[in-house]
Symmetry: C2
Subunit: 134 residues, 2 copies
C-alpha cells in the first residue's frame, strides 16, 4: 500500500477534522465537522463568517487539517489553502436542514463555507513519518 | 461551574493533546501523548530534538494545545508558549522506561522535552465559545 493509500484509508470514514490556522504567527487549533469531501484533496466545512477561524483564513489562507486514530497512533496532516466562500452557489451546495438551528437561512450573511484544498501531506504511524504529494 | 472549571474537567483525564505550531505563517497540527501535567497550566511532552515540531518551537515558541470530546462537541484550546528543554534535569524528570525503545538513553541528544505553559484558554461547547485567563 502506498503512503497516499494509507492516508486515504485513515481519512475515509472520518467525520471530524482538526483544523489549524495561523494568526500573527500564533497557531490556533479546533475540531470541526467535515460536511463534504472529495477524496483526500478537497474538504468543505460550514462556518460562521464573523468567527475567529473564518476571519483568520481570510487574512492568511495557509491551513492544515488533521485526522488521527488515537488507538493505533496513526495520523494524517494535510497542508494547503482554506478559502472562505460566501457566494450563493457554494452556500446552497453545502446547506443542510440542520443548519436552520444555527443560521436564519441559506442567505444568512453569517453562514459561510470553508473549502480546503490540500497540496501535500504527512502520514504518521507510531514514530515514523512519510511525506506525500497531492 | 466556572469556564475554567469546565475546561479543567474536560482536560483532567485526557492522555492525548493536539498541538499546534506556526512555521513561516503556515500552521502545523499533531496529536501527542501528554507525559505529565500540572493542572491546566503546564504540560510536558517527550520529543525528538531533530523533529519538525521541536525545530519549529525553537524558532517560534507560540503554541496552542487542544483537547476535545468528539461525542459531546466540547473542546478546550490553550494558548501559550512551548519550550524545548535539553538540560539533563528536565530530561531525567520526564524519562520513563519505555523511552528506551525510542532513544539510546536519557542522555541521548535526540531526546528532548517540550514544556507548554498556557497563558489563556478558549472553551468550546456546541457553537458557543468562552474565553478564560490563566
Amino acid at each position: 500500500m502506498t503512503t497516499l493509500e494509507k492516508a486515504e484509508k485513515l481519512i475515509k470514514h472520518k467525520k471530524i477534522a482538526v483544523i489549524g490556522s495561523c494568526d500573527e504567527n500564533v497557531p490556533y487549533v479546533k475540531a470541526v465537522l467535515v460536511e463534504k469531501k472529495d477524496g483526500i484533496k478537497t474538504f468543505w466545512f460550514g462556518s460562521n463568517t464573523p468567527s475567529l477561524r473564518a476571519q483568520q483564513y481570510m487574512k492568511n489562507p495557509n491551513a492544515s487539517i488533521y485526522f488521527f486514530n488515537r488507538v493505533l497512533y496513526k495520523g494524517v496532516m494535510l497542508s494547503g489553502k482554506m478559502e472562505v466562500l460566501t457566494d450563493a452557489e457554494s452556500k446552497k451546495a453545502l446547506w443542510k436542514p440542520s443548519f436552520k438551528h444555527i443560521y436564519a437561512g441559506v442567505d444568512d450573511p453569517e453562514y459561510c463555507v470553508l473549502k480546503f484544498t490540500a497540496e501535500s501531506g504527512k502520514y504518521y504511524f507510531n514514530l515514523h513519518k512519510e511525506d506525500f504529494a497531492l
